[in-house]
Symmetry: C2
């Protein structure tokens, strides 16, 4: 008799209760087993199932993983889990994980190399079957090292020259933003970007700048403060410190526009008359703030990144995917649009 009461029941206990070996119990209870009835008589199967349910049996996932060296677990590394963008991508990943009975475990890396390595290795220690990185740095070697260890992975959000990724069409987005601002007659363009090691940043910059130059405009000014409210504020402060002010601003996150707009408001600059603003991700904050923004289906991007990983795990060949982006024009670039949300308007997206 086991001395420990009210611990998790094991197959051994079921076997003892039914009077069979753990082998048989395992064969019946294993959900991978396609023909449980091949291994025992109908009565035995029934008895085992009943005992399992009576005892409240649940398989010990650790023991299974150790034995089978498959953990039904994937690791997801995000630069910052609290961010709307990454959280939405993760929601998509988690959805697919659930659909496939796998567990998605996640951690934030704050884009710090040491932290990424630490958390990646910690996940590998738990024998994750694969990884999804949302925090790839352009041309870094870390990912090559992971690949050399034969860890299957995909990238999402940010791409890398040598690995499979699911990304937004950031180049097109940059171009789209610039062309929109240019079509409004804006000529002094500026951007609030991320650091140079992110493909999201560089691709959008490239699209934006090339569109501006093709239109004969001067090179747009770049403020690489980042993706937060604070970053937008700091960038705006820097802009106002050095006239002439831009008359068209593109930020790589709606929140940054929020922060910048706060500074503009304080200093009496009107949006969009003095400065038109375009955000990114078309988040709920964007429509609540009448902000023109470029959107992409983040949730589906997340979904695809795991679907691709699962394909890879089952040996199928996979390829990178690029998601289309769309521009939603609101009052922050077009003064003829209404301000605020009318009572009658339906709202497409949740959160």
């Amino acid at each position: 008799m086991p001395t420990r009461v009210s611990q998790r029941p094991t197959q051994r206990q079921i076997a003892a209760q039914v009077g069979v070996s753990v082998t048989t119990v395992s064969r019946i209870l294993n959900p991978e087993e396609t023909h449980p009835e091949r291994w025992a008589s109908p009565e035995t199967v029934e008895a085992i199932r009943k005992a399992a349910s009576d005892l409240g049996y649940r398989r010990n996932a650790l023991a299974v993983s150790l034995r089978t060296s498959r953990s039904q677990t994937v690791g997801v590394l995000l630069p910052m889990i609290g961010d709307y963008v990454l959280a939405t991508i993760f929601a998509g990943i988690d959805e697919v994980a659930r659909e496939n009975g796998v567990m998605a475990i996640t951690a934030s890396t704050l884009d710090e190399p040491a932290l990424r390595a630490e958390r990646t290795f910690k996940m590998l220690d738990h024998l994750v079957d694969g990884m999804i990185f949302a925090d790839a740095h352009l041309d870094e070697h870390f990912l090559d090292g992971i690949e050399a260890q034969r860890v299957p992975f995909t990238l999402v959000h940010r791409r890398h020259s040598r690995h499979i990724s699911v990304t937004a069409d950031d180049r097109a987005a940059g171009r789209m933003a610039a062309e929109h601002l240019i079509s409004l007659g804006r000529t002094r363009l500026a951007m609030v970007t991320g650091r140079r090691y992110m493909s999201t940043g560089t691709d959008r910059v490239e699209g934006f700048v090339s569109a501006a130059l093709e239109a004969g405009l001067p090179e747009p000014t770049i403020y690489d403060n980042g993706f937060t409210v604070r970053a937008g504020r700091d960038a705006a402060v820097a802009m106002l410190a050095r006239p002439p002010y831009p008359d068209g601003l593109f930020a790589f996150h709606d929140l940054a526009i929020l922060g910048a707009a706060s500074v503009f408001r304080h200093h009496g600059l009107r949006v969009p008359d003095d400065i038109a603003t375009v955000g990114f991700y078309d988040s709920p904050m964007a429509w609540a703030s009448d902000m023109t923004s470029i959107g992409v289906n983040l949730q589906d991007m997340g979904r695809r990144s795991l679907e691709l990983l699962l394909d890879r795990l089952s040996g199928k060949p996979i390829e990178s995917e690029v998601f289309p982006v769309t521009l939603t024009v609101r009052h922050s670039t077009d003064p003829s649009r209404p301000v605020g949300s009318p009572m009658e308007a339906p709202i497409a997206r949740a959160l």
Copy 2:
């Protein structure tokens, strides 16, 4: 010789290379072992350490957990990981986890009972040492069932009558919001709340309503739409559909105020002249939108919830904690405050 090349090295391989038993390797490499040198000569210790590092050895966390029945892992259940509030709490939890060498794994439950149960059991299958629930429902029985299984856990964000929790002083917050609005001369008060099963909601409602009644005001109107931009919008639409409009609004999330403000703006209602608004959590969105808001140190709440859990795991007695809340007044209730962020202003909080 192992047939599999470039798999994770094991203690067995190290043992073979050095010429000792795995027992010795384990004793030397086990970080829990306080006196590794007790088990082997200095040369052997050195040889084992070198071999481990040469091979790139890392302990198999699954095997360790299985043997020791301690996984150095805690499960964290959040209603919605993408939300600013929960993500910030989780960031605090994760910080403490890292400081203590444990891994915090998380999942969203969307406040759906079936999903909570599924995800909880999945975590228990992975032998988490303890759980933190941020999605407790008032007086539910689910948590009692978990406790009956002798799973150690703490609650954070929302409290429960029978379990240890770390929460904001929600009652005081509700009272504080009401008293602030009343001090401005507002008399028709309204709230955008969450559903009744959350302690955050009921406690704030209680504080708010009792303060209003004590001041001789009519009972505030309650819109229980929730915590999102969308919820705020829908609540505002409902308000405008049935005059007289409130002149003081308290929402349980800054985002809801953002959504409501959008509707007000569209219909020409001025904030704060026609309606003063108070948000919750004092998020970056609040200051970027000149919003009066009640704040609490979410990150520290998260930290404490895990610190308490770890205390419990090491047998110490623990008690519930309540965090103080603070009111930050901005333009959305006080027209004399400046609009927007001045260039010179320092900013206290990140994101």
